[in-house]
C-alpha cells in the first residue's frame, strides 16, 4: 500500500486500527458473539437436535440454582483447587526465593528448573491417565510400592479424599514449576537498590523476605492468584481423565457438569448454558474480590526506589 505524502505532517494513527482489525474482528466473532449466544440459549429451552428455541425466562436458572448436583460440582472444584493451590503457591514462592538468593546458593539450578517446569508442558490428559494407572488397584505402581514397604494395598480410586487428593497433587505437580518461574521473574524485576537498603539497615533474610520481597511481588501475586483461580474453576482435562468424577461424582468439577449436561444424556444445551453463565458470574465475583483485596494501596505514594 503506497502512500503519497501530500501533507508535510502525516498521520499514521489509522494504521493502529488496521493492525488491530484481525484481532478485534476475531475476538468479536469467536469470543463476544458466543458469549452473547450462550446467554441467549440460557434463557431458552434448547436441547437435543432442535434448531429452534423458545424463550422460557429464568426457568433454567431456577433449576440450576436449586440443583444439588451443580453446587456439589462447584464445591468439588473449589476443594480440589484449594488443596492444589496452597502447596503450589508455597513451593513456587519458596523455590523462587531460594533460586534468587544471594546467600544460599544451591548447585545445579538450571538442571532443577528444567525438571520442575517439565510437567507444565506435557499433555494434562495423558498425565491424568498415567496417574490413574499408577494409583490403580490392585496392580498400580503405588500399591506395589506400598506392599513392598509392608503396608496394605489401598483402593485410591474408590476413596473420595484420595481421589481428590491425587487430582490436586497432579495439578500441583503440573503448575508449581510455572509458578516458581513467574516468581523468579518477579523477584529479578525488583530494584536491587531496595535490597541494598535493607541489607544496610541490617535486615536478615527472613525480614528481607517479608518486608521487601513479598510487598514488591504484589502485582505478580495478584496475576498468579487470578489466573490460577480462573483456570482452577475451569478444571476439566485431568479430572475427567483420572476418574471421570468418580467415586460418586465427588470429584466432578463444574466444567464436567456443564459438559455432561450439554453433550450426554438429554443434550440439554439450555441447562448447560445457564450453568455456564452462573459459573461466569461466580468467577467474576471472586476476581473482583481478589483485586480489591490485593490492590496496591500505596500506589500514589511510591518514591524513587519504588516499583
Amino acid at each position: 500500500m503506497k502512500r503519497r505524502n501530500r501533507k508535510k505532517n502525516v498521520s499514521y494513527g489509522r494504521y493502529g486500527y488496521i493492525f488491530l482489525t484481525p484481532f478485534i474482528l476475531s475476538y468479536l466473532i469467536f469470543q463476544i458473539y458466543p458469549l452473547i449466544y450462550t446467554v441467549r440459549i440460557s434463557f431458552s429451552d434448547l436441547k437435543g437436535f432442535a434448531t429452534k428455541m423458545n424463550f422460557v425466562g429464568l426457568a433454567n436458572y431456577a433449576r440450576i440454582l436449586t440443583s444439588d448436583a451443580y453446587w456439589d460440582s462447584i464445591w468439588n472444584t473449589i476443594v480440589i483447587w484449594v488443596v492444589n493451590f496452597i502447596p503450589q503457591l508455597f513451593f513456587g514462592l519458596f523455590l523462587a526465593v531460594l533460586f534468587t538468593s544471594s546467600t544460599v546458593k544451591v548447585r545445579g539450578q538450571g538442571f532443577f528448573k528444567v525438571f520442575m517446569y517439565l510437567p507444565n508442558i506435557i499433555t494434562a490428559a495423558a498425565v491424568a491417565l498415567l496417574f490413574s494407572q499408577l494409583f490403580g488397584y490392585p496392580e498400580g505402581a503405588i500399591n506395589t510400592i506400598l506392599v513392598r514397604l509392608g503396608f496394605e494395598k489401598f483402593e485410591f480410586m474408590r476413596n473420595v479424599a484420595a481421589t481428590r487428593g491425587v487430582i490436586s497433587y497432579i495439578y500441583f505437580w503440573m503448575w508449581y514449576g510455572y509458578t516458581m518461574l513467574m516468581f523468579i521473574a518477579g523477584i529479578l524485576g525488583i530494584n536491587p537498590a531496595i535490597f541494598e537498603a535493607a541489607r544496610i539497615d541490617g535486615a536478615n533474610n527472613i525480614q528481607t523476605f517479608f518486608y521487601v520481597t513479598l510487598p514488591s511481588l504484589r502485582t505478580m501475586m495478584l496475576y498468579i492468584l487470578v489466573t490460577c483461580m480462573v483456570g482452577g474453576f475451569q478444571n476439566f482435562d485431568i479430572v475427567r481423565m483420572y476418574n471421570n468424577g468418580a467415586p460418586n461424582n465427588k470429584s466432578l468439577t463444574v466444567m464436567m457438569y456443564i459438559y455432561n449436561q450439554a453433550f450426554s444424556g438429554d443434550f440439554k444445551y439450555s441447562a448447560a448454558a445457564a450453568a455456564s453463565v452462573v459459573l461466569f458470574l461466580i468467577i467474576a465475583t471472586f476476581s473482583v474480590l481478589l483485586f480489591i483485596l490485593m490492590r496496591d494501596r500505596d500506589k500514589g505514594k511510591k518514591g524513587v526506589g519504588g516499583r
Binding site: 494504521y15 493502529g16 488496521i18 498415567l130 499408577l134 496475576y223
Partner: protein, 282 residues
Amino acid sequence: MKKNRIQIRIIRVLLFLLCCFLTFLTIFPLWTMIVNATRSSVQIQQGMAILPSTHLMENWAVIMGRSGVNLLTIFRNSVVIAGGATALCVYCSALAAYGLVTYRFRGRTFLDTFIIVAMMVPTSVSLIGFYRFMYSIGLTNNFIPLILPAMATPGTVFFMRQYLLGISYTEIIESARIDGAGEFKIFNRIMLPMLSPAIATQVIFSFVASWNNLLMPLMLLTDKSKRTVTLFIASLKFANVYAIEYGAIYLGCAISLVPILVVYFLLSKWIIAGVALGSVKE
C-alpha cells in the same frame, strides 16, 4: 563465624536434597510410564520394575489392532491444528501488539485495559454458545473452529506488547518511512525479525496449548479419522477396549508424551527463559 558457615552448608545440602526429591517426583511417573510400556500386563500386575522389558511390540500390536487407530493420521491432525492455530495466533497477536504500541489513535488506552481484562476472562463459559454457533453454520467435525479462533488470544497480544515496550525502535521506523516503505512492509521486514525472541517463545507456548487441548476437539470432532492426539488418549480410557491391557495403556501415554519430552529437552533453555519474558512488569 564458623558456626554460621556450617549452618549455611547444612541448609544448602538440605535444600539441595529437597530439589533432588522434587526432581525425582517429576521423573518417577514418566520413567515408570516408559518402563511399563515395555512390559506385559501380567508383568505389571506382578510388581514394579526399574528397567524396561521386552514386550514393547506386543503392546504396540494391541494399540494398533484396536479399531481405527492410525497413528500417522492422528499425529498429522494434531500437527495441522496446532500449527495452523499457532501461525495465526502469533502473527495476528504481533500485528495487534505492534499496532497498540506504535500508533496513537482514539481508544488505544481502552484497548490496552481491555486486553488485560480479556486475559482474565474464563473462555470455557462461552463454550455452549460457541458450539451451537459452529453447529448452526455446519462447522462441527471440522478443523476450522479449532484453528481460526486462535487469532483472538489476548494473552499473546499482551506478551508481545510487553516485549515491544521494552525495545526502542522508533528511529528504525522513521528512517524506513523516509525511505518510502509502507507500514506493512515495515512490519513484515523490520519488526518481525526484531520480535523473534518473543515470537519464538509464543510459538512454543501456543503450539503446546493447542496440542494439549482436550475439551475443544472432544466437543467438536466426532470422526475417528479426524482425531487428535488428546482424543486418542481419551479413547485409551473411554473406548472400553483397553480395560486390562495395562501395558498398552502405558504405551499409549508414552506415544503421546515422548515427542513432547524430546522437543522439550532440546529447547529447554529457550522455553524456560521465555516463560517469564513477557510477565507482568510494572
